[in-house]
Symmetry: D2
Subunit: 335 residues, 4 copies
Amino acid sequence: MIRIAVLGCGRIGVMHAANIAAHPRATLAGVYDIHAPAAEAVATKTGAKVFQSAEAAFASRDVDAVLIATATDTHAGLLELAVAAGKPVLCEKPIDLSLARVNACAAKIAGTSVPIQLGFVRRFDPGHSAVRKAIEAGDIGDLHQVVITSRDPGLAPEAYLKVSGGILRDMTIHDLDMARFILGEEVTEVFATGSRLVDPALMDRLGDHDTITVVLITASGKQAIITNSRRATYGYDQRVEALGDKGMAISENRRPHEMTLHTASFTDRAEPLLNFFIERYREGFDAEISEFVEAVEQKRAPSVGFEDGRLALVLAEAALKSIAERRVVAVKEVS
Amino acid sequence: MIRIAVLGCGRIGVMHAANIAAHPRATLAGVYDIHAPAAEAVATKTGAKVFQSAEAAFASRDVDAVLIATATDTHAGLLELAVAAGKPVLCEKPIDLSLARVNACAAKIAGTSVPIQLGFVRRFDPGHSAVRKAIEAGDIGDLHQVVITSRDPGLAPEAYLKVSGGILRDMTIHDLDMARFILGEEVTEVFATGSRLVDPALMDRLGDHDTITVVLITASGKQAIITNSRRATYGYDQRVEALGDKGMAISENRRPHEMTLHTASFTDRAEPLLNFFIERYREGFDAEISEFVEAVEQKRAPSVGFEDGRLALVLAEAALKSIAERRVVAVKEVS
Amino acid sequence: MIRIAVLGCGRIGVMHAANIAAHPRATLAGVYDIHAPAAEAVATKTGAKVFQSAEAAFASRDVDAVLIATATDTHAGLLELAVAAGKPVLCEKPIDLSLARVNACAAKIAGTSVPIQLGFVRRFDPGHSAVRKAIEAGDIGDLHQVVITSRDPGLAPEAYLKVSGGILRDMTIHDLDMARFILGEEVTEVFATGSRLVDPALMDRLGDHDTITVVLITASGKQAIITNSRRATYGYDQRVEALGDKGMAISENRRPHEMTLHTASFTDRAEPLLNFFIERYREGFDAEISEFVEAVEQKRAPSVGFEDGRLALVLAEAALKSIAERRVVAVKEVS
Amino acid sequence: MIRIAVLGCGRIGVMHAANIAAHPRATLAGVYDIHAPAAEAVATKTGAKVFQSAEAAFASRDVDAVLIATATDTHAGLLELAVAAGKPVLCEKPIDLSLARVNACAAKIAGTSVPIQLGFVRRFDPGHSAVRKAIEAGDIGDLHQVVITSRDPGLAPEAYLKVSGGILRDMTIHDLDMARFILGEEVTEVFATGSRLVDPALMDRLGDHDTITVVLITASGKQAIITNSRRATYGYDQRVEALGDKGMAISENRRPHEMTLHTASFTDRAEPLLNFFIERYREGFDAEISEFVEAVEQKRAPSVGFEDGRLALVLAEAALKSIAERRVVAVKEVS
């Protein structure tokens, strides 16, 4: 049994804690939150211990590994502490909103053999990962084009958006990682364009965009296209398509159930899509924990690590520069 | 070029005439209708000749074959005349509503080498026939169960229903033929049940049913299930499913197009189904003419013939007896 | 928190124990199994207590309710003990394979106010229950036909089949309950036919069938059709369709994920279906526990109870009689 | 009856001739081809006259309108002759590969009231046009993003590609028109990138690309993305998606039929897509003729005209400039 402590008992931390408790080869060693009642509520339900500080969790002999689900600006510091304590760590994305801070963190942990996993949960989605597996199996031949559709069900509150780092660093970053995951080859050039269509007044205030298209190009000419919107009224729209010279693989949206209605006015009418990420990526969150448990058991690097988190942020920076300058930006210009 | 005369210029005759005129290896030799203006309208558009009688068409040297699309009660007689004249014939179903009359016709034409094709158009539907081909190719192994869903978009007018011969002989008969086509083995036993749900008062007056379930069983125990309704508000519902010991083949409904709508209330909302048979079986009607042209060219028996028409009627009779006696009826009891 | 004891730690009991432990308003009070190590394994993972006997669980003050997941022939006895002890009970289906024993049990517990829930999990499947909700909401108007497709991914071992009570009491019984659930009106007549196609030699030895069609008819003429097979190579096939005078609702199969493959030979190729019931009805098993927890909290009768278990068995008996006598059997003949 | 002459009896001209002959309100007045036997073959089948020259058709009193389906480099000249003769004209796309030549033609025919229709058949596809209609009906609210997937089933022969004008002017041009059709607002900026992935050696020789992504932006910030490939092994891939602030409309691929196969290895396996445009856009070609017939009858401008042909070419030129300069190109830079 791998004994895992969860730092941060917000919505996503509570979910991770429950998944760890239910996992056949892991136990919930304890929980911590800056707001004590949040940690206590999890402890009551699961029987897990409450840590009085993150440091206490790192110091505990009863903790084999930690999961960081605290506020974004604490991620890099806690990650450094985890590595210093020799505790394998699963860190929610992003490492930090500042590329400079991420690079500093990278320098500090350079050479560590402590397993570090980044919380890019979508790589563990059964559908999206099946696209990657189909490519690896040669089912679609050499990859040519990747199309990622990623739209949130609705705008987050202004308070959240203000500190989110902007749509590229907050939302698109998942898709930039997905593009790297599916492409299997590094991106060398980026083009992006942003519009203010969902809530122009709010976006003006924030200096942000709500509608984004990104085109990524690799050295060999492979193309990946990302389309983002902050509002898909029909639900959380998450699709991945890969075209190769022998075929195509598509990971379509997942629904709450498969009931359809047919009347004199329409056929095949289904429910809106699963909303939001905790429901949509339920299987992915389970598989993410399994990957972490296995990496800890085998003392190996997880399949998605720190450098993946850093490179996704580099692509976000390149996209921001492309939006500003209305031209293709070479990745090496920003990294 | 096979020169084909069309007898009967109602809705289905007009469609057949157009299909023949457009066919690359056939020409429309002429048309006849008891109501002359109906024939003349077709002639004006296509440049085809108008025959003053069915007999004139049978007698003409410029006619290689005939298509019978006249009123049901004239089919058997015209078919006998066609055979006597040595003209290959494509006859719309049913041969006759009376099994005795059909048997008499069979006796009269016994031994003829004139190609006779019955208008069971659904056998030529690309989807339904692909189910049969999948079975023949061994894709689903030995056949175990067939499920045929067949529902009309709405009740026909009472005037039509009165002379239709009842739901079993008028509507289910297509599905009984489809069951024979897919099963590839003769049915030995029949169970059927009928209800009056769509329009109970009308059905009471007609002594008919509007909602039917038929179970067909072959000597080896294969099962075919037919569900019929006189009203599917969502359109003309036409599905065929075959389960075998290695897999399943399904021919799903065909739509007018593939546009779907997704909003805050629903996803995947599509148009109602194609309505009615001329639209739904457009490709089937084309292929049916091709089969006839080819059979005439090659002087061979068409893939669906007189005996198929007769046996479908036998199964309808067995189903009617089952409804009356509420028990399994052996096919040999009625044939 | 409702404290629930789980009796029986086979595959399904272990799953229920984990679901109870993970449920926000329930805790796993303890477990029991005739084979002690099975119970201990669950206890180790969850921290729950091990009971030395079922009686100990019924007697415990720390147990608010019990879930019976032991061998079938112990269900009725344990259920009687639970009622005697005043403990609300969720009992896996079937109550017993003998209708006489079930009737005796019914007599013994007559008049009890203890909540009793039967484990017909499919009623809680989000898709299937959405069909029922659509009917209740009037979305499809008056119900006319129900078509239930229910096929196992493969034959269970002979040892299991021998004690299963036969396909009607073991497998079809779920579909008979689903038909009652969807129809919303009692079945008055039953027709059934059985074949030996999947493994004829084995079925001959067992005196059982592996391929079943059942037609159920209500007093008002509504029709429900069930098609069963012991082997669907493509996975666990679970579909429910309801036709009404205003429309149709279909609950389609659920898949492990939505990745499809498209090549020069095919398009839309998806994975085989989820296999088997624990995976397919994952959401249903969660919702079943929620219903039980809520019923216990509210001291009310669960939405699916003892009489539902008894009536499904009555329909199975009527179907067996129909197979034997090849005629429609009135339900009152067997109940 | 509108009497239409068809100029050019290649594959697409023959198809148009047959569609005109079958149209209820049109007749095929005659055909012309530079290669006389091609015209004669059509005449034999349809009974239409053979014109000895295009001029003869323009001069004929028995011709109400003409359809131009000759070689691309003759389109502009014939179009000018048609306008001079006062004959309404349906001209296959492109008007010309040279924007200068198109502009010269525009100048020459400026002010004409002769109905001119451009052969952008995809606007008449029932699915794609239903997307446009959904937008006009307000079903998806204000439009934000359009995603057009357009991939040919395979590379055309080198001889064809050499004279095609390149992928942007030959293939993407259809999608550029579709983007304008769906956007309902003029494009002001274009970004494009091209790769050589399908056949790099051939593309090097031709100085062309086989894999294209285009991003189009309107003044209000609406985004349209086009992904093109010269090879989709799974068939002719033609999809249109529109996202608005109230919902989404998708026109999915059309299939030859709806039969799917399910085995132990897979489920839902369908046939490759319809291949190629004559099959895929069958309904569209019918509707295109209907629009032309109606425009001629009503002496009105067709819904898609000369300027649409010119503007699509302008966008293609802007995309070519963007590929060369790796930056966003303003449409006014090229027009």
